[in-house]
Symmetry: C2
Subunit: 218 residues, 2 copies
Amino acid sequence: MADRPYHHGELRTALLDTAEALIRERGVDGWSLREVSVRVGVSPSAAYHHFASRDALVQALSRRVLARLGERLGDEVERAGGDGVEGVVAFGRGYVRWALEDPAVARHWLAYNAGGGDRTAPHPHRVLAAALDRLVETGGLPAEARPGADFVVWAAVHGLAALLVDGLVHLDTPEAVYAQAERVVRATLIGLSRQAPPPQGWPTPRSAYTERAVDPRR
Amino acid sequence: MADRPYHHGELRTALLDTAEALIRERGVDGWSLREVSVRVGVSPSAAYHHFASRDALVQALSRRVLARLGERLGDEVERAGGDGVEGVVAFGRGYVRWALEDPAVARHWLAYNAGGGDRTAPHPHRVLAAALDRLVETGGLPAEARPGADFVVWAAVHGLAALLVDGLVHLDTPEAVYAQAERVVRATLIGLSRQAPPPQGWPTPRSAYTERAVDPRR
DNA sequence: CATCAATCTGAACGCCGTTAAGATCGAGGC
DNA sequence: GCCTCGATCTTAACGGCGTTCAGATTGATG
């Protein structure tokens, strides 16, 4: 307030960082715009030069979290080889591990997720779709089973993560959680391979990750 | 305020009903305790004789929603025959239909779900577990695959419902949504049947639905 | 009919998100 | 080197929120 320069310089990022830290400390709703401002050392109204509202900050944070998750999942799929079943398994394990390691922030994303993500990072759904495409190329999944398969696997993995983060399902050790994630992914893939493929004209789901302009203030 | 009797009589239920109606009208967070009180025709502090806090009302509503879902799913599984794969498919379709037909309330439950449910109604997880048990009895699922299978199916169905409710996945018609739910359930069941069963001592997940005393004020 | 606990009211507290008017600063043109 | 101008931040205020507390009203008990 007194020792700080009048212009902060990185206020937008500082607000996001501080909000995220508070979420980690006290849970999804354990913070206010005013408290974030105080902690950053700035008046409550300063935030309104960078975010149109508190909700806009929440959305921006959600996008940032999503972008980091996408990046991380891309790396993990890559590191697992990426071309076979192991790549998809790595996706599932990474998704769930992320929810386990940073539960408050993950819960924030689950509750206030923003449809579109940061366009500089791949959306988790894209990472999964790419992994499944390569699985088809390497013969690990019949091509007829591919359409819409991403949504089946995503649903299973997302559901496990949500149940864990919300405390509806409990496992004692992280290893048990990863094992469960692996079982979910492998079962899903086997089922998709053996299942009668969807008929022609089957309505394919669409992801909310559509390219669109994003007002940085929103 | 003037024409109403001093004692409401059914205030607790009226508050829950009105909050639910407001959620349906304006979304998960589009209401306040004060507004609910005004609509019921009661002063804001009256609610505190029935709920310890606003959050307690939220939790109570969440439990009520959960109980209704469990009851409904039980009926639908029953109506589908219940002993074979069709019973589990009916569970998945019902779960997703519920999310589709009452999205705001479903979103409320997803965001503020209470671990334990009303003990007079079966928890959805119990309904699913029972359906899977009968599936094993009728030979539709190998007994070795049964341990933990409920959590695999639940994760897949829950995930699809969550993705739909949050708008992360879109399908144009309700029929397409049900078809997707069916595909998810059938693929999961096939995968569980064909997959190498989990080894002895495999750590089984636990549901948060443990019988425990619930303070009606909380 | 008196008592008493349960229920509800009215007023107040501090915190919240948000807005408006003005102070402070840094950068680009003279 | 100064001046302007737009961006950034402050101070002050508004109404609404959840919550508390002292007191009014009521139906049930005996």
